[in-house]
Amino acid sequence: MERSSSLQRLRAALFASRLDGLITVVLLAALLAGGQALLHWLVFKAQWAVIQANSTLFAIGRYPLDQQWRLWLLSVLLAAATGVSWGWLRAFPRPDRRARLWPANDRLAAAVLAGLALLLPLFLELSAVISQRWWGITALLLACRWWAGRLGPALPAAFRRGWPVIWPLLYLLGMTLIAGGLGLPVVSPSRWGGLLLTLIEASFAILLCFPLGVLLALGRRSRLPLLRWLSVLYIEFIRGAPLITLLFLGQNILGLLLPGGFSPDRVWRAAWVLTFFAAAYVAEAVRSGLVALPPGQMEAARALGLPVHQAMLKVVLPQALRVALPAMVGQFINLLQDTTLLSLIGLFELLGTARAVMANPAFLGKDAEVYLVLAVLFWCCCAALGLGSRALETRLNSNPQPA
């Protein structure tokens, strides 16, 4: 009974009319042909030695061997923090909201993570020591998730509320661990590479372009003419110029523009250009959020005696940013992908590393394998950003259907 009904549904969906049936058959045939070819290539033709031999290069570039313990330490800290946050978010869906942050298949997510962590080192043919480290880090993450979910309610609420502060602190600590300073030997940015460099550039630009974009959006709507004109000029200039030209420009003139002969390293110059570039787009996203807000909100806040800055901070921006969130995350995802342009100004982020590897005579003709891995890596990062933003949207949604 059950089976025949689902069969009927499938038939209704795919073969409702003759034309539908024809389209279904053609598409299935194409899918089969393409899928079979891809599968054949993946299993029999593709040679993953190019990835296996260069996995460290793809991950962290030419980071000095004797300093790599710092990255391992950072991975351990990140895994622990992620696990605790995950567990707590799971244990405390906001009781006043019907929409939950984590869907019921959150266990599935944990299982997928565990499976990937188990298989990936085998696929990459990492050495036993390194494989065990990865397994250990994953186990730590899952243990923290379990522990925070189980023990979380027993801890004082203040501790839980204060926990998110760990993330900015961890970011600063991570940057120090990577770059050196505070007693650690300095590792020059020219030694950073691969996924590490991509993530550093993208996260730096994402974190800084957000406040900058908000300020620009407010400036564009300011009553002070000079501030407004400058904001408009900046936003329109940046949006009118291709990123690649700005990157080349930044390498040449950023050192001249910044005060006191302060000339950051090439890596940081690129990061600043990315930041300034994305800020203009974030500003437009935020502005759309501000425009969408009824003027009555500001009026009500002011009528209650709130000064402008508090009305902005407590009433206008929380609502405007929520409206702007999807557009902003789209911008962040673009930003992550735009980091590949840095390979054109000679930085060895993921694409730069890939090009260097493919130029090695030992790995000639292995472009397909390399690009496929790159695409999958970027897809994973962007999917994570997208999932996170959707979860955030659900959590921030204060207009649930009347219960």
Binding site: D96, P294, G296, Q297, E299, A300, A301, R302, A303, L304, G305, L306, P307, Q310, K314, V315, P318, Q319, R322, L396, S398, N399, P400, P402, A403
Partner: protein
């Protein structure tokens, strides 16, 4: 009445909109402590604009406004000081949709009056009790009906302990069956001695609650009288015409 009892004193208020429209043409009005003044008039007569000048939501180009002894000026600090003492209820409620009902009430007292959150919350719950809506304290405005939202908006204003309350067509955006519950809350407020200026089309409310009724037309005060006289024996032709239109 002595000057000590004068809550709002508007003298020759002039308002031009940036497009050149002359919205208020030398309007005078005195509101005394404990009074309920109802302002009526056709749309476009400037009545909403007029009460919005009392807390400087609209700036004025001529005349003077004194609220509770403070003369309204362009100074931001002066404006904020007056806004703390003047509560306002809007046609569109203007509740903050991202905050719960209780958070809506507590926001201004905590931020502006610098009061302790725990104390304010107790008072806020008592106020919600007064407007018969305590059980909704932890819901979001979007989950409430229009009448409930407007009662929350009244409670939110009261939470700042204002000396005078302004109502800008508080029932115009409501479904007919919800008008009464809001008017009852306002009536209760008037009985407790709150000074109120109300822009409304509700004749019954004006008859029962108002100390004085004002008719505004084309940016001027046409008639001002106690409700009995206003509705039964108006002095001006314009008033008779208006009353015949809304009857």
């Amino acid at each position: 009445m002595t000057d000590r009892d004068l809550m709002i004193e508007a003298r020759g208020v002039e308002k031009w909109y940036p497009n050149g429209y002359h919205a208020l043409r030398g309007v005078d009005l005195n509101v005394y402590r404990g009074e309920v003044v109802v302002i009526m008039g056709p749309s476009g007569s400037g009545k909403s604009t007029f009460i919005r000048t009392f807390n400087a939501l609209e700036d004025i180009q001529g005349g003077s406004i004194v609220v509770d002894g403070m003369t309204l000026s362009d100074d931001v600090r002066n404006i904020d000081a007056i806004r703390r003492e003047v509560g306002m209820v809007f046609q569109q409620f203007n509740l903050f949709p991202h905050l719960t009902v209780l958070e809506n009430l507590c926001l201004a007292p905590v931020l502006v009056r610098k009061r302790k959150k725990v104390e304010v919350e107790q008072e806020a719950l008592a106020l919600l009790e007064r407007v018969n809506i305590r059980e909704q304290a932890h819901k979001y405005p979007g989950q409430l009906s229009g009448g409930q939202q407007q009662r929350v908006a009244i409670a939110r204003s009261l939470c700042m302990e204002p000396r005078v309350m302004l109502f800008d067509e508080p029932t115009s955006a409501l479904d007919p069956e919800m008008v009464q519950e809001v008017l009852e809350v306002m009536q209760e407020l008037a009985r407790e001695g709150m000074t109120m200026v109300v822009v409304t089309h509700e004749v019954r409310f004006a008859r029962q609650v108002a100390s004085r009724v004002v008719l505004m037309a084309e940016g001027e005060v046409v008639e001002m009288a106690p409700p009995e006289q206003f509705f039964t024996a108006p002095q001006h032709e314009r008033t008779r015409q208006f009353l015949s239109q809304i009857a």
